[in-house]
């Protein structure tokens, strides 16, 4: 019942123009939304810097000498049997950004990353830079896991809303209990069952790789069809389990809203049930789900390594596992950096978006 003052309308207030000295402050009070966006963006930069710095130092703590690993693999590949000279080792150290003390390594790394988007050379496929290795697998991951995440969010929100709306009814009860039982089953377990049924027993769908190697990659109908066919099983295993999780949380948010006075009022108004469900019930409870979705995007980059491994999908997860096995620290750090960047950016965008989705959300005064 707090009677809030209506939002201040931007008017040429005489008080403000009287103090031209504090120009920034006057501007901020006249453009609260823009001022908020600027502040939020500043915070984003600080967060980004902090997280990247922590990641950098954390990975420098890894035991093992990557240069020795590289030299060994080079020796094996080129049947290069001489002992590596100190000079060669020093050159490689410089190239990988491992020369000098930790602080200067850090400064060089950050400078390269920020100015050139350069993550340094990758060990697995030296001399290809790590960012190229990552960019090669990134579209696969975004294509598979990103689409799967979006789909499971949409399905989960829709089904969860209906489950909450029809609470107490048999169908809703079955769906809710099914969700409780299945939402915490690991992806790979479902994936294994799906593979067993559809790939092994029935032989309908392929269980490995991302597309048919007999088809040339490109914008052809055959290739896209092959992409869908190969992506179906890994995608399905993620969507299936992810959806159950979203159903459960959406239902949980929905049920208290259904007891609100404005729902009774909407019913008394004689609105169509579908309209009440979407405009009155869902509209008032889906906001936390939007935030949760932004955070869940982060798990795309580390949570589904197993699914990609299982299906031998050439995505970021597979790249990450190979990189860890080979002590390819530039690639490992690069994948981490990308995960940091995407989560923070997603949360930033959502924070800026929320006031548009819900008028009660106000970060500024």
């Amino acid at each position: 019942m707090t009677a809030e003052a209506p939002p201040a309308v931007a008017t040429g207030n005489s008080q403000e123009s009287a103090s031209p000295a504090s120009g920034v402050r006057a501007w901020m009070s006249r453009h609260p939304l823009a001022a908020y966006a600027v502040r939020r963006f500043g915070l984003y930069l600080v967060e980004l810097w902090g997280a990247l710095t922590i990641a950098f130092f954390f990975f420098r703590l890894m035991p093992g000498d990557p240069i020795q690993t590289l030299i060994q693999s080079l020796q094996q590949n080129y049947i290069y049997n001489q002992q590596a000279s100190a000079e060669i080792i020093a050159r490689y150290r410089a190239e990988f950004g491992l020369d000098g003390n930790l602080l200067s390594q850090y400064l060089v790394y950050m400078k390269k990353l920020i100015l050139h988007g350069d993550l340094g050379p990758s060990l697995i496929s030296y001399p290809t830079p790590a960012q190229d290795v990552i960019l090669r697998s990134l579209p696969w991951t975004i294509g598979l896991l990103g689409i799967a995440a979006v789909l499971s969010w949409i399905f989960g929100l829709a089904l969860g809303a209906v489950a909450g709306w029809r609470r107490g009814k048999l169908g809703s009860r079955i769906m809710t209990n099914l969700s409780i039982a299945l939402s915490h089953v690991p992806f790979f377990f479902v994936a294994l069952i799906l593979v067993y049924i559809f790939a092994y027993s029935l032989g309908w769908l392929p269980a490995r790789s991302a597309y048919d190697s007999n088809i040339n990659p490109g914008f052809s109908l055959a290739f896209i069809g092959s992409l869908l066919k190969y992506g179906l099983l890994p995608g399905l295993s993620i969507v299936l389990i992810g959806t159950f999780g979203w159903i459960l949380s959406t239902r949980m948010l929905m049920v208290p809203v259904l007891g609100e006075d404005y729902l009774v009022y909407a019913e008394a108004k004689g609105l169509k049930p579908w309209r009440i469900l979407t405009r009155y019930a869902l509209r008032n409870c889906y906001l936390p789900q939007v935030t949760a979705f932004g955070i869940s995007l982060g798990f795309i980059f580390n949570g589904n390594v197993l699914v990609e491994q299982l299906f031998n999908y050439p995505g970021l997860g597979t790249t990450l596992v190979t990189a860890i096995q080979q002590l390819d620290f530039n690639t490992i750090l690069g994948v981490t950096d990308i995960a940091i960047f995407s989560v923070l950016t997603a949360v930033l965008l959502l924070d800026l978006l929320l006031p548009l989705l819900d008028p009660r959300v106000k970060y500024w005064k």
Binding site: M1, A3, E4, A5, P6, P7, E260, D261, Y262, V264, Y265, A266, E267, A268, K269, G270, L271, K272, R275, R279, Y280, R283, N284, D358, P359, R360
Partner: protein
């Protein structure tokens, strides 16, 4: 409409059923709990005449709100209507038993014929919709032909209850309690319904706002000719607003009659106690 207002004013206190909008007969409402059934409304007979303001009085737990919710068909389990009929006679439509209509038939009847004015202190307005959109959805649902006149209709309705047109663009959290109550009043009469059921329209408001709200309600009757059923525990509200008053006690109707008659010469001892409970300046209670 105005003619029927006059007519009902003329027939105040008489027991003619011909001009009634709503006829309740033998209504029983029961709440089933694990510790047995509770009868909230017992064998209630009551008629609401076209154009009148009928007050329903009674203490907390007397069943008056249950009655309102049952008439509006908003009763939720464990509440259940166990007996009775409620004949509703909207103008230009065939009479229906409100307790028998369901689904689409009931939905179409809502608001255009039977509307509801909830307590303003409750969060009856959708917090994420602008006031104008909460007018729009109900008007377009039941009277899509008025789509083009909305821009003129909403400010007119708002001014009818003493609100500025700019309120239309505001969100509920930007309104005070009194403003919210007035918005609800404007929405309630937006489609000129045959009957408005107001549940505690002035509760949880300070006295000055109460007075303004009561005045606006009285004005709405003069302007729109709506029939109003006002539920309130506050006898003062009935004294100021109602034409007739019905007194409920423990689910039963103990007295019904012309408001002046009831106040001057209460027949039931409970009614007498209720009237005596009105606080007066300069009089000590007990």
């Amino acid at each position: 409409m105005s003619e029927s207002v006059k007519e009902s004013a003329k027939h105040k206190g008489t027991a003619s059923d011909s001009g009634s909008v709503l006829e309740i007969k033998g209504l029983d409402v029961t709440y089933s709990t694990s510790r047995g059934d509770v009868q909230a409304v017992r064998g209630l007979d009551l008629a609401v005449r076209r154009g009148e303001i009928l007050g329903i009085a009674g203490e907390s737990g007397s069943g008056k709100s249950t009655l309102a919710v049952a008439l509006l068909r908003l009763l939720k389990p464990p509440g259940k209507v166990t007996a009775g009929s409620v004949m509703f006679r909207p103008a230009g439509r065939s009479p229906v038993d409100l307790l028998k209509v369901n689904g689409e038939e009931l939905r179409v009847l809502r608001w255009s014929a039977l509307s509801y004015l909830p307590q303003g202190s409750m969060s009856s307005l959708n917090p994420v919709m602008r006031v104008q959109d909460q007018f729009k959805d109900v008007i377009l649902e039941h009277a899509p032909a008025r789509k083009d006149s909305l821009g003129e209709l909403i400010p007119r309705l708002l001014s009818q209850v003493g609100l500025e047109p700019r309120v239309a663009r505001m969100y509920p959290h930007e309104l005070s309690g009194g403003m919210k109550q007035r918005v609800l009043m404007a929405i309630a009469v937006a489609l000129e319904p045959d009957l408005v059921i107001a549940d505690e329209p002035t509760t949880a408001m300070d006295v000055t706002i109460q007075r303004v709200i009561l005045q606006s309600l009285a004005d709405l009757r003069t302007d729109f000719g709506v029939t109003l059923m006002v539920i309130s525990h506050d006898m003062g509200v009935h004294a100021q607003l109602a034409d007739r008053v019905a007194v409920m006690y423990e689910g039963r109707l103990v007295e019904v009659g012309d408001v002046r008659q009831v106040f001057k010469d209460p027949q039931d001892p409970y009614t007498r106690q209720l009237i005596e409970s009105i606080p007066q300046v300069g009089r000590r209670t007990s």
